[in-house]
């Protein structure tokens, strides 16, 4: 039985690690993990490569290892591995230039499939958005924060690249991600006791469960999907309902006040305020719901969680968090896990 090789870039990150953990379950798949840093918790069965993406040797690697698919999960959103703020220029280098290199190398090495993770925020929140934005809707991410601008740049580049190359590229656009881990901008926002809202605005919101992010990326890879797909849980709900269902209370803020406050220098970069509203204010004001019909018909992926179930899952996790002592502490088992994985490779 010949094993098929999949390369996960950014394997030390949240999504890379989770994807790796799912992929190693399939004996037919050989998982290579590439990242600039060492993984904190290595996954058994993954062959780690510690290197920078922007490297001419990447083509060589893809060729000699006969990589069939790349799951490109590198996206630096703010902090680098040492916990310092990344400059916008560095982030641009890593995110946009990195993606360009990966696509170019993949094409040169004859890789069959690349899967990219993007966001439905690239459509931008605008008052004249249709209720459901399909994949052909114009992108307006360039007006947003730096990280969103970079997503937009990547999307533009991929669309351009697609026109001239026959590489299969699946771009999955996800709305806010919700689930158990609490580690996404939407969960950060909803997890506050009083998430701020704009007074008099209550847009319909959409979300996707973590499990469906993993599921859809693997699904797209396995089926050789080519194209752009919105992937979201079925259902929409007003933002205020989502906040209340999580068990928190929305804090309404006058929107002229909020917008003007944002203009004060330094406010946008204030980590506290950025935590409170981790995306542009427009996303709390106007609709940016994505149409998922293409996901159902063309990608043929059916999310495991509906929106209500996903929100319910997050609420459960929030409630459990109060009982900190009940949950197994990761740091305690880390050492043993590391030891075990080392002896595993020694065998």
């Amino acid at each position: 039985m010949e094993r098929r090789t999949v390369l996960i870039t950014g394997v030390a990150g949240r999504w890379g690690r989770r994807l790796a953990r799912q992929l190693v379950k399939f004996p037919i798949v050989r998982v290579l993990g590439l990242d600039i840093r060492q993984p904190e918790r290595p996954v058994d069965g993954v062959e780690y490569i510690e290197a920078d993406l922007r490297n001419p040797l990447l083509v060589e690697l893809l060729r000699t290892e006969q990589v069939e698919a790349i799951l490109h999960m590198v996206f630096a959103s703010g902090l680098d591995q040492r916990g310092t703020q990344l400059s916008a220029e560095d982030a641009f280098q890593i995110n946009v230039m990195g993606t360009m290199e990966v696509l170019a190398a993949a094409h040169a090495a004859g890789v069959r499939q690349v899967v990219l993770k993007s966001t439905t925020m690239v459509y931008g929140a605008r008052f004249n958005n249709p209720l459901y934005l399909n994949e052909d809707a114009p992108l307006h991410g360039q007006e947003g924060m730096p990280s969103l601008r970079q997503r937009y740049e990547i999307e533009k580049y991929v669309a351009d690249f697609r026109r001239n190359h026959d590489l299969h590229i699946a771009v999955l656009r996800f709305p806010g991600i919700i689930g158990k881990s609490g580690a996404s901008s939407l969960m950060q926002y909803l997890g506050q006791p009083t998430p701020p809202m704009l007074l008099g605005f209550d847009p319909l919101f959409q979300a996707v469960h973590e499990a469906d992010v993993i599921g859809s990326v693997l699904h797209a890879m396995a089926n050789g999907a080519n194209g752009v797909f919105n992937v979201a849980a079925d259902g929409v709900m007003p933002l205020s309902r989502m906040i209340r269902q999580v068990g928190h209370l929305p804090l309404p803020i006058l929107h002229p006040l909020a917008y003007n406050l944002q203009r004060v220098p330094g406010v946008k970069k204030n980590p506290l305020l950025r935590r409170a509203v981790p995306f542009d204010l427009d996303f709390l004001r106007y609709q940016w719901v994505a149409d998922t019909s293409k996901m159902h018909t063309e990608l043929e992926y059916t999310p495991q969680y509906t929106l209500d179930e996903a929100v319910e899952d997050f609420r459960g996790a929030l409630r459990l968090k109060r009982y900190a002592d009940v949950l197994p502490r990761r740091s305690l088992s880390n050492g043993i896990r590391a030891f075990l994985s080392r002896s595993g490779t020694a065998e």
């Binding site: 008052f127 209720l131 459901y132 008099g200 269902q245 609709q287």
Partner: protein, 442 residues
Amino acid sequence: MTEQENPKRRRRARAEEVNGSEPQSPATRPVETMVDVTDAPASADVLPATLDAATVQLVDESAATHESAEPALTETPIEVKNLDQPATPAQARIDSLLEALEAEIRSMPAADEERQGAIAEVIHLIRASITRWPKKVLEGVVSTLRANIKSDYLDADFWKGIALVLRYQLDANVDMLRRRWNGDYAVDEFGLDYELVQLTIPLLTFLYRKYWRVEARGLEHVPDDQRALLVCNHSGVLPWDGAMVGAALYFDHPAGRILRNLHLSWFSSLPFVAPLLSRLGQVQALPANAERLLERDELVGVFPEGLKGVGKLFRDRYKLARFGRGGFVKVAVKTGAPIIPVAIVGGEEIHPNLYNVKPVAKLLGFPYFPITPTFPILGPLGLIPLPSKWYITFCEPIETAHLGSERAEDPLLISQLTEQVRSTIQSTILEVLKERPGVFVG
């Protein structure tokens, strides 16, 4: 009042005659039970206790005061609470009102024992629920009671029923608030919240049935569960016509259909307006939205005149403005939805727009700033529409399914259909105007 009463009294007297020499008048029953209650007051049920209180009063007729009634009443714990607590001003006022009322009843001619027993029960019921009812409801009840002291409203069962309904309603409202607070409600794919729609129904019913006395004709042209595009003329400065077409379909159509009006994009940028419209099932007027709605077999209402129609001057009333660029016809052809022209008569007179002050509109960012006979002279009162008589005519549908969706890109066909719809509405309006006896009568 007494003349009204007399026949009833006579009837009752006759009934007693029929029943024979032993009158089974209710007044006798309590006198018998009164003995039991005074023996064992603690075990007494609530209602018999009050009946007794009333009959005690009747037995010694000299005392028209209510002090003698209180000891019996205080047996129920709720009473004790009400009387002992330093009452809030509103509650004290209601208490004093009730007391005055009671005294008034006691001083009435003693001939009608049955009625007096009933009154005592009513008063007890009110007292029992005094802590649960909102202030407004209580005041309303007391004033009704005062107004109808001598009429047939004073029937214990009637009031028991009212109290029950009020309690249920209060419970339901409290429950709804609690659920909504916890985010336990649902909106549909387009943001429509059925619970909120239900809340608007009393207002819409009033406007539809009483205020504008809307006459809906040709509702049989609207399908029961199929898609259709309703094209209406627009008028009235404030877009009440959309609400009334919706009300006609919801109240008078046999299937009680919900209409999704397409509204101006501008509304989606306004605070409060945007979420409210969305929760009430209104959708921004974009071809993509209309298509999606029609594909899900919804009824979609469009007002292709848009601002030119709703903001037109009074002297131009019932003269249709340009029908946009025919985008609505395109969507209908694309989705194969029949187009139903709808002619609304009466909407033009609710806010006669005499002059449009463009500079003020520009300053405020409004699409227009009208001068009407009542606005802005009367301030916010000027926002109250005039009570004209409305006629809404649903014309025969124009089928588009046989054309095929690819014809949507045929500009000739689109402009033809647009003109057909426009002329149908215009001629229907003229026909209704011809028969209309007056603006406000009918």
